[in-house]
């Protein structure tokens, strides 16, 4: 049975979504007239500021374009559903974001994104734009660090880098802070039910009625293991155990927390999860600096959630607190 979606022609989903987003957020976002998949902050790029270009496949809203705005990313290149954008819109974003002191490319570590962004970086070099790339690899479901994907932790990683750029720090410092933010961000998720692509209207994986998959990626990539459904507390503990083993926090350390819905899981359940996160962190003597709960990195209508801990030090706290004003996110 095909899944239900409120769409028109599946081939027009991205363009129509962008039209709706631009209509809703004209004070934050504009579309480059010659490159409709390049979305640029109205109040972003300026001379001397390191430019920040993010991007990736669609279907994760508000990631990526929701994080375009003053104090965060200058531009986002928009791909098809779950597919990296091609080099052209990325290149146009780089040109739009360039303030003459370099442009950071930041996106999740996926083979397709790496190929397209690298091609765009080579093209930008021909236009004398100095591009450096920082991949996000916050998904601790994967053992091998080099192979880790970028998932909901992009939220903190982009936030830190965007603040560094907005503070007019040097290209070296912006890159260093971006890498540090990535190294200090740890995410793990669980999926309860699949999503479907607008073109196929078929579930992109199968899970039994009483099953969940721990560590599943935000495109339905298989995770670490499948098992029977468990309680909110038990699932939270499993995810946190893995995150904390990676993060190696000491008593008295400080974190920011993101409890993120993959799309279908409601706030009610997210807050149950967050309750348990707080209990566990309290027990360990880890201070929670700030918490966000909601839809920040979705997989269309997938059911499930992810927990991200952002391990703060003085500098990352300063970046997190720096004001930003984006279409779908505001801080400070």
């Amino acid at each position: 049975m095909p899944t239900k979606k409120l769409i028109n022609d599946p081939a027009d989903v991205i363009e129509e979504m962008l039209e709706g987003i631009l209509a809703a957020h004209p004070n934050h976002l504009k579309q480059l007239p010659e490159s409709r998949r390049s979305i640029v902050a109205v109040d972003g790029p300026r001379p001397g500021k390191v430019g920040l270009v993010i991007g990736g496949g669609s279907g994760h809203e508000p990631t990526f374009l929701g994080f375009v705005g003053k104090g965060l990313a200058d531009a986002a290149a928009i791909g098809n559903v779950f597919a990296s954008p091609p080099p052209d819109p990325i290149l146009e974003c780089a040109k739009a974001a360039s303030g003459g002191t370099g442009v950071l490319f930041m996106y999740g570590n996926y083979a397709g994104d790496v190929m397209n962004f690298d091609m765009a970086a080579e093209m930008a070099a021909m236009d004398d734009i100095d591009v450096r790339t920082v991949l996000s690899t916050d998904d601790v479901a994967i053992e091998d660090k080099a192979r880790r994907r970028g998932v909901a932790g992009n939220f903190f990683i982009f936030k830190a880098a965007g603040a560094a750029c907005d503070k007019m720090l040097s290209f070296d410092d912006c890159e260093r802070i971006a890498r540090k933010a990535n190294d200090h961000t740890f995410t793990m998720g669980v999926a309860l039910a699949p999503c479907s692509l607008p073109q196929t209207l078929k579930p992109n994986f199968e899970l039994g009625p009483d099953e969940m998959e721990v560590g599943m990626g935000i495109h339905g990539e298989p995770g670490v293991f499948r098992g029977p459904m468990q309680t909110a507390d038990a699932v939270t503990d499993q995810l946190l155990d893995r995150i904390l083993a990676e993060m190696q926090p000491a008593r008295g350390d400080k974190v920011a927390v993101l409890v993120n819905s993959l799309g279908a899981t409601p706030l009610m359940e997210l807050y149950l999860i967050n309750r348990r996160v707080k209990q566990r962190l309290d027990d360990l003597g880890i201070a929670i600096h700030r918490t966000w709960v909601g839809n920040y990195c979705t997989s269309m209508e997938m059911a499930g959630m992810s927990i991200t801990l952002h391990h703060l030090d003085g500098e990352l706290t300063e970046m997190l607190e720096h004001p930003c004003d984006c279409a779908m996110f505001r801080a400070g």
Binding site: G79, S84, L197, T200, H219, P222
Partner: protein, 215 residues
């Protein structure tokens, strides 16, 4: 058919586009098992864009290289993803392999297949045995080169098609170490790589089109 001129090459792309369109559901399902489930959709969007771009090309006035370059540009611009850079690079290398030629004979076709294989490999940085489309492209290239001496376009593409199909099938026994399915490890065993499957489909369609050219 002894050789392909630009119009024949356009017809070949149209045949491939139709085959992908017919089979996109299966390709997406293969991808759903070990990847993110979009491969058939991506290939369909890419080849529809190629078809549209080639419709606007005056093939009679262009060399085969221009056909390949138009295909590369339109495919990449429409899809991105992994398939975009991989196939775009393959098409551009194919175009370079037949530069200055007015038509593609058996030997040139073997060069085209080899250039496409090399392009995919260079762009994706995958080696044989990593459960990617390289596992279909490399054997296809080897088989095409071996058959080039036959002087028959159909023989070259038939050999490439058989090798690509076997190569795609062989990915079933491989554990993915590249691309998105690499995170699956042992769980990728027993499933055909969708990229290798689409490669086999493309080469098979090329062989079939040369055997019985569209009227």
């Amino acid at each position: 058919m002894i050789s392909l001129n630009s119009a024949d090459l356009v017809a070949l792309f149209v045949a491939v586009a139709e085959a992908i369109e017919d089979d996109k559901g299966r390709l997406s399902e293969l991808d759903g098992v070990i990847g993110d489930g979009d491969h058939g959709v991506t290939m369909s969007i890419g080849f529809l864009a190629v078809r549209k771009a080639l419709d606007g090309l005056d093939a009679a006035g262009e060399a085969p290289t221009a056909v390949f370059n138009t295909a590369a540009k339109s495919f990449l611009g429409a899809v991105g993803a992994s398939a975009g850079p991989l196939y775009a690079t393959a098409f551009m290398r194919a175009g370079a392999a037949v530069k200055d030629k007015a038509s593609i004979d058996a030997a040139a076709m073997a060069d085209v297949i080899a250039a496409m294989a090399k392009g995919v490999q260079d762009r994706g940085k995958a080696e044989s045995g990593e459960k990617t489309m390289v596992d279909a492209w490399l054997p296809a290239a080897t088989a095409a080169q071996a058959a080039a001496g036959s002087g028959s376009l159909a023989t070259v593409l038939q050999a490439a098609a058989v090798a690509a199909a076997e190569g795609a099938e062989s990915t079933r026994q491989m554990v993915a170490t590249k691309g998105r399915s690499a995170n699956l490890g042992e769980r990728s065993l027993g499933h055909i790589d969708p990229g290798a499957a689409s490669t086999a489909l493309i080469v098979a369609t090329m062989a079939k089109a040369v055997e019985s050219p569209a009227e």
